[in-house]
Symmetry: C2
Subunit: 304 residues, 2 copies
């Protein structure tokens, strides 16, 4: 059973509006534009975190992060949001799309999304990675912006997790607690409030918040096309990345980092296939890399 | 300007029929089933080699190799051929399809092709490579077959050729002789009769035959999605591969080899990203690998 785990994502920053005051109905509507729905919510003083049928939505007073996977059309949620809040209040926009496993199953391609964006927004399109391999398409608003000091984003996108972890995660009927304990979230994410969902027959999504910090993880454990994404604004020095890689042992992974230094975070045993780096005109410094486990022996092809 | 260089390919072996006697009209018809056409032909005592609007067709007395690229539907040519010659005469069939850059632009996917094949042919489907990266799908007929001794195939699929070679190859108005001389075919392929075609505004296809030996090369030189394929049944010890890699200096390449030992052919400077190996039930030993230039410095993303 194939599920397209590869995500689309946008993060916007507005001025002169309190995004949290827009209310649950507004956000239900926003999410529905992508073809997804809100499953549950946790909130603290800084942030509302929504778990979606396909990934996650985080809302702070001045910023909003939305991530969707599957066959969703995130671009429509973004257009809706900007139209409703007003483009004159937009300070920063970054819209990203990871290359999909099966692009022919998607309703739109990144170039289609761009056409819609460019009708209202003056922006720049950058391709991190190689067109014929793993890559991440990024569009940003061409408005000078100075990120605040702790505005750091780190994405870890993992492919082909170990047989042990896949075997565990595709077992049906897990409780959320069993999966939390498998990932040892209590130790890795101390102080975070966790909200999660186990999908049928398998698959797992998790949002976690602590003040204005967030983490989100989405697990597509199917054999032969397993994919797990982890994203956070925690500083990477915390070493949660090594912990997660130790548990899932992916055959390969991408990193996409905004204003984070990734030089010393690649664990022993992984080599880089490619690295891309750019200081965006809109203020952020972005690093993209693909890493893989060196393995000198040949594998056998998969019989289908 | 994007062109899908990634190829589909089949090689069939029949008994009790002289394929060369089927005539030009038959082959025009066969090729048209894929949505392609015959541009020109060279022949010798062993083989007819047709250059197509999208790749190549080689016909020997008992075997036939057809390769097409772009948006062609090679599966329909294969179905037509088997129906006309008769499945009872089929001794061996290998149908391959390289993952495409843009699968959403293709009329069919490999799984669609398989459905058609499986209606008439009992076969096995193998996936060489990772689903989310470079891979080569292979279907073979489940009939025991013993390849003759010099039935060796070697495919070299090159990505992101050097700027120098791309600059030269996208220059418009080249004569075939200029491109032959760029590749130094006279030295690399001594004794071969060459038939080639320069496309508008650029792009190049070449067939070469010498007795029952063939080579074929197809060049999609566009920047940012350049792709060059070279395929032959010459034994790899000839070292033509090192010569071609020296000229094109691709950032990465795949090898797909049938009954050829590829252990010692990877030039210094390239590392393996993955290797797959399998002895097929139908007799051939297949090796697949993806190799890339190690480069420790980060690149800049491409602005589009």
């Amino acid at each position: 059973m194939f599920f397209e785990g590869s995500e689309k994502k946008f993060e916007v920053i507005f001025s002169g509006v309190d995004l949290r005051s827009l209310g649950l109905d507004f956000y239900r509507n926003l999410v529905s534009k992508s073809g997804a729905e809100i499953l549950s919510q946790v909130s603290n003083e800084e942030c509302d975190a929504f778990l979606l049928s396909e990934s996650s939505l985080f809302v702070w007073k001045d910023r909003l992060l939305m991530i969707t996977c599957g066959k969703t059309t995130l671009i429509h949620s973004l257009s809706f949001l900007i139209e409703r809040v007003g483009i004159e209040k937009l300070e920063s926009l970054i819209f990203q799309r990871k290359n999909e496993y099966y692009s022919h199953l998607q309703e739109t391609r990144f170039v289609d999304d761009l056409k819609i964006l460019k009708e209202t927004i003056d922006g720049t399109y950058l391709l991190f990675g190689n067109e014929h391999e793993h890559h991440n398409c990024l569009f940003h608003y061409n408005k000078p912006y100075k990120p605040i000091e702790d505005d750091k984003t780190f994405e870890l996108l993992m492919y082909d997790i170990s047989e042990t972890s896949s075997d565990f995660l595709i077992r049906e009927g897990h409780s959320p607690e069993e999966i939390r304990s498998f990932f040892d979230f209590e130790r890795i994410l101390p102080g975070f409030e966790i909200n999660d969902h186990v999908f049928e027959p398998y698959g797992y999504s998790m949002n976690a918040i602590n003040g204005d910090r967030y983490c989100t993880m989405h697990v597509t454990p199917q054999k032969h096309c397993s994919y797990v994404s982890f994203e956070t604004n925690i500083a990477i020095e915390g070493n949660f990345m090594a912990d997660i890689l130790k548990i899932l042992v992916p055959e390969s992974f991408d990193i996409m980092a905004f204003d984070q230094d990734i030089k010393n975070v690649i664990p022993v045993g992984y080599s880089d296939r490619m690295k891309f780096s750019e200081k965006l005109d809109c203020g952020y410094h972005v690093e993209f890399g693909h890493y893989f486990q060196r393995n000198n022996s040949a594998k056998r092809p998969r019989k289908i």
